[in-house]
Subunit: 292 residues, 3 copies
């Protein structure tokens, strides 16, 4: 007889069960017949018990495997949690380091801006006694030398300053590079005075005269500034032109301050950031500067 996994339902159709007999009048059965029937039923019960027992054994084995699998999962989980702890600690350490670095970087940024400013200041101070003369044809200095040429230009344009002893030329040179490489142009002349006051007197006279000439040809006297200061001045251009249209008397002051008239007073700003802060308090100004 083969083991049967689900014996009760099967037996209902094949073999007489004790439950069948309880619904039967067994009094008609002979003692021997009933004995054989009972023994057969009992043998079936024994088989069923054996197979259930085997099934339970199997379930238990499976359960042991499951328990092992769970134990393994738990220890993997513990290991993963420990790795997570460690990883999170490393991440926190990195985050702390980044905050620290950030602080150091801010300091370096401030330091770099200081260096920017100091280099610009030094560079401008080296050019403080200079005037940049623009528009003098090359080769004009061949005969008189370049300093002689500059003296001629000063005499031609500012005859009254000839006797000013403060106005002493130290030296003059052509710049090395042309301002605009694509357009043929004369190189500028850098004219250095011995004294700042001498240079200032010439520049003041030049501003008052407005139109300067050399041998009848128009020339220009400009401040000699560091490239950094030129850059800073250039950044004011759009705002300058807006203020100019509005007759707000904008001026660029040394080294690169913008000043203009607002509410009847002249106000000066060293950079766009400072102007921006001021503008937030003046809606009318905000309106004027919209789009710059």
């Amino acid at each position: 007889m083969t083991k049967q996994r689900n014996p009760p339902p099967k037996k209902e159709h094949e073999e007489t069960t004790a439950r069948d007999l309880t619904n039967t009048d067994t009094s008609k059965m002979s003692e021997s017949e009933s004995r054989i029937t009972i023994i057969r039923i009992l043998a079936g019960v024994e088989n069923t018990l054996e197979s259930l027992s085997a099934e339970i054994k199997e379930v238990k084995n499976s359960q042991n495997e499951i328990k092992n699998a769970i134990t393994e999962l738990q220890s993997r989980m513990d290991a993963a949690a420990a790795r997570m702890d460690e990883a999170e600690q490393r991440i926190s350490d990195i985050e702390d380091k980044l905050i620290e670095n950030n602080e150091a970087e801010k300091q370096r940024e401030i330091k770099a801006k200081e260096h920017d400013l100091r280099i610009r200041e030094i560079s401008d101070s080296l050019k403080r006694n200079n005037i940049r003369i623009i528009g003098v044809p090359e080769e004009e200095e061949r005969e008189t030398g370049i300093e002689g040429l500059c003296e001629q230009m000063i005499a031609e344009n500012f005859p009254n300053l000839g006797k000013d002893t403060d106005i002493k030329i130290q030296e003059a040179q052509r710049t090395h590079i042309r301002f605009n490489k694509n357009r043929p142009s004369t190189r500028h002349i850098i004219l250095k005075f011995t004294k700042y006051s001498g240079k200032e007197r010439i520049m003041k006279a030049a501003r008052e005269k407005k139109s300067l000439t050399y041998k009848g040809r128009q020339i220009r006297f400009a401040a000699d500034l560091s490239t950094e200061t030129w850059q800073a001045r250039r950044e004011w251009w759009d705002i300058f032109s807006v203020f100019n249209q509005k007759n707000m008397q904008p001026r660029i002051l040394y080294p690169a301050r913008l000043s203009f008239k607002i509410e009847g007073k002249m106000k000066g700003f060293p950079d766009k950031q400072k102007l921006k802060e001021f503008v937030t308090t003046k809606p009318a100004l905000q309106e004027i500067l919209r789009g710059t």
Copy 2:
């Protein structure tokens, strides 16, 4: 008959079991009575078997669900482990990058300190031929010009240096800002000599004379230094005053070195760091500097 989960305990009180019968003298039972009893017991056994079988089936189903859950957990665990591997790799990469950055930042830090130093050197070198004159009332220069005023001061204080041809003034100017904005004070005069040697001769004479005057009023001749060098000198003040109290002859040397007498010899230090290193080898000095 309803299925009973725990049939044996229940039956003990309700129905006769085979185990009851083994403790009973069944010989008094009629064959028919015992047959009915046995069949009833057997039917009960069959019911119990059926319900146990159902329970086992249920347990097995549950076990399959559990196995599925475990398989799912295992694959989630595998996925988590793979994510952990990846996350740890990313963390390691970040840590490596930070070490690398750290190296680069150290280099930048060194570079920034070099720039500090070079800017200070350049700034000081631009002021090397200058003397800062403190205490001359504003407007004094109205008649003679500021350079004439300086010549008067030199003549008043150093009559013997009048014929020194090295002492040639290049130019002089008032500073742009007042030193202390809150206290009304006269602006300093920056007096620039053509030669370093001329300026040095005046400064030497000024140090020897100790008290200088202009029209009877006390004035002061000071070195003209970069703001960075002033800052560096200011950092010595507390230590300087301690050494002064201890008669250790402290002096500030150009640009911002502290020198003082220790163990019979003059020792000089360019900055606090270098002094600190020296101090660690001198317990007595450590004691003196405690608290600075």
Copy 3:
């Protein structure tokens, strides 16, 4: 009777089972004997049922524990996944920050190089009117003063330049430190001209004359350059000497450009990087420079 975990195998050898009886001629048994046997077998079945039922109960309890363990594992897994999500987010944030920092650092690097360059330019420009005179014994200036000494040297070596009004000495000084601290050597003289053109005329004459003397002793006139420019020039030395051996007419141009003759033309390079880029296009040059 004690509960037996695996009753069927045991009974086979100890007690008569119903299955044994089915293989036996039970007709020889008396009704009473068979009744007792059947009851005993049934009692055994009841015991087995009871123990199976207990086992199933135990399995179910275990299964509940397992389910709880799985539920716990699942929620730990969920928590771990959530932690992973968070950790990965933090890692991503850090990576983004690093990329951002990297950008900022590149900008700072560029800024630092600009500062390098500007400091070098400024430092060189401050020395533009200077000549460094090497090899003049110390103390030679005691009688005439150092500027008088320089005038003597110019007169001795360049008698034709005596009347050049551009060549005006502003001042002269010994350097503060000796070039090589280990070898006793005379300190250099830094000779500053009022004009760049004056200094250039002297340097041109010095280059043409090749050998200069002071009181018959050989001296040298060199450009006065910033330490940064010296460093930049020094970096060309190995390449310079290779080009020199190959008669490629190498020259160091102001401030630190290397120029040399290649394919019949003079080519100039501001730094090694630019030369490297050029060399990659010239296999012959690559060959020459192998190993530098």
